[in-house]
């Protein structure tokens, strides 16, 4: 494997990869989608609902990019508006109320940069999620399945365990954005991708994630079966932990430069 970090970025973005809904369909049983933030709208870029994981009720959230051109446009290419984050928070608070674990699938180039998103408080919506997730009293596992684009990804990744697909990336800024700000040259995106340390291996050595999920059989039943088993095992460990919230605090607390 001689892939550069920028190759990984391109892989993470490629439309052939399974999207959030594929994970929901193949890992869980009896998914019931629940819509809307009860404030303004329903954001198709984040899908949420309840389902069973090996029989256990769970709350599932997934950023969805869509497969076809039409679907991708409808899903806003997986770039959530504030409504998406507020819907996610609503469903997570509900998970807490009913004692269900939360599983998130993260895949976004970033929170949407638009006029309406700003008018309705994109920053505030993300901030509120970061705050509320830090003390949610049920286990949370987040899996980065493609792009982990900055705060827009983190808003669903304040979790007890954060896992990444082998070719997923996680970054504070896109390599193109970084190159154009720092070097006034978006063409140097590959250099930026090197410097940003955004691969799954980098994230693990920085202590930002716990586990890298191999991509053998990506999208095939065996692939999803493997993830289902890992989730079930990890959730039973987390559910038995009496100091979940304290450990979640420490998990982020120890990360400094």
């Amino acid at each position: 494997m001689n892939q550069t970090p920028y190759d990984r970025v391109k892989l993470a973005r490629s439309s052939g990869r399974p999207t959030g809904l594929d994970y929901i369909r193949h890992i869980f049983q009896g998914f019931i989608e629940l819509h809307g933030d009860r404030r303004f709208a329903d954001d198709p870029a984040i899908v949420g609902g309840v389902a069973r994981l090996d029989g256990q009720p769970v709350t599932v959230l997934a950023m969805e990019k869509g497969h076809t051109a039409r679907e991708r446009a409808r899903r806003n290419f997986g770039a959530p508006h504030p409504e998406g984050y507020r819907k996610a928070l609503r469903l997570m608070k509900q998970a807490e109320k009913f004692g269900r674990p939360v599983i998130c699938f993260v895949d976004t180039s970033g929170a949407y940069c638009g006029t309406g998103a700003e008018e309705r408080g994109q920053g505030q919506a993300i901030a509120e999620n970061l705050m509320e997730l830090s003390t949610l009293c049920v286990p949370i596992i987040s899996i980065l399945i493609g792009e982990g684009g900055s705060g827009g990804a983190l808003a669903l990744a304040v979790a007890d365990r954060v896992w990444m697909l082998q070719n997923a990336v996680y970054s504070v800024i896109s390599p193109e954005g970084c190159a154009s700000i720092l070097w006034k040259d978006p063409g140097r995106a590959a250099d930026a991708a090197d410097s940003l340390k955004l691969t799954a291996e980098d994230a693990r050595s920085l202590g930002v994630i716990e586990r890298i999920l191999p991509e053998e059989d990506l999208g095939k039943p065996a692939f999803f079966d493997r993830i289902r088993r890992l989730l079930t095992e990890e959730l039973s460990r987390l559910s038995a932990d009496p100091d979940l919230v304290g450990k979640r605090y420490d998990r982020f607390r120890r990360i400094r430069s």
Partner: protein, 291 residues
């Protein structure tokens, strides 16, 4: 609501307005040109007016100057002064950049933290430094803010914070991003203890700081005309291919859209924060009032 009166700066130079005669000045005294009204004002006069132009424009202010303006004289005791950023990712050029910025700003990091009194009210205070990489949040920045909220939780003190930031610091990659979660968790723990946090957003407050502790306060104020937002205006224009409405992402725009409690000009900030600190720590059943 009482906060509305803070919408307009009531400073001594206000009466003249845009059409006022040019300010008399001593020959050779350095002056500053206002980007809003283009008036030139001697620096000494601006300093006497908390760096606010006669037209009400709020110039950028160094963190230490702001502390002098807002904290009671001699009350600020700095915490964690030696915490500074390393170059954890070996990001090209970052170490040089940090050293240059440290030399130019005289600060070790993009935020100053400490305990202070404001109008006699004890509090923890953080002030971000616009002259340090525009207040960008790296690992040490997040560490200092987190540690300040933890100190405030332990000592049962309210927190007053002045935000200014271009967002998370790119050169520390994911470690910067994680500071958003880390600071937010510390704000939540402080809040869950029933303690008060007031934030004042100054020009500009954007990106990862807006999307974390800046927007998590019990009372959120902003300085007049300050740019406050998540995404940069240029990025939004490129994404949407539309011209942005006038006044987009200004403090006044956020107030209209329900994301601020009020706008407070510099001259009014100390009195307002003092009042808020008294009101929010003097509630019935609050520990300090317990018999």
């Amino acid at each position: 609501m009482a906060l509305i009166k803070f919408l307009k700066p009531q400073n001594q130079l206000e009466t003249g307005g845009r059409s006022a005669a040019p300010v008399q000045q001593d020959a050779g005294e350095p002056e500053k040109t206002c980007p809003n009204c283009h008036r030139q004002t001697p620096l000494s006069r601006l300093w006497g007016n908390d760096l606010v132009c006669a037209c009400g424009y709020h110039f950028r202010m160094k963190a230490r100057q702001r502390i002098r303006m807002i904290a009671d004289p001699g009350s600020f005791a700095e915490l964690f002064p030696s915490l500074r950023s390393d170059n954890p990712l070996n990001f090209p050029g970052y170490r040089d950049k940090i050293e240059t910025v440290q030399a130019a700003s005289g600060e070790e990091e993009a935020v100053l933290c400490g305990t202070a009194r404001i109008g006699g009210q004890p509090c923890c205070l953080f002030v971000m430094e616009p002259y340090f990489m525009m207040g960008s949040m790296g690992g040490a920045t997040g560490e200092k803010i987190t540690a300040l909220f933890e100190t405030a939780s332990e000592r049962r003190l309210p927190v007053v914070g002045f935000a200014v930031s271009g967002g998370a610091r790119m050169q520390e990659g994911l470690l910067s991003l994680m500071q958003m979660a880390k600071t937010s968790a510390a704000v939540k723990a402080h809040s869950d203890r029933g303690l008060f946090y007031a934030a004042v957003l100054t020009d500009p407050t954007t990106g990862g700081v807006t999307a974390s502790f800046a927007m998590e306060a019990d009372v959120i104020l902003a300085e007049p005309g300050a740019t406050v937002g998540f995404a940069g205006a240029r990025v939004i224009e490129q994404t949407t291919r539309k011209t942005l409405p006038k006044g987009f992402q200004t403090a006044e725009f956020l107030l209209d859209h329900g994301f601020l409690d009020g706008i407070a000009a510099r001259r009014e900030q100390k009195a307002l924060l003092t009042d808020l600190l008294k009101l929010y720590t003097g509630g019935f059943g609050h520990e300090s009032n317990a018999i």
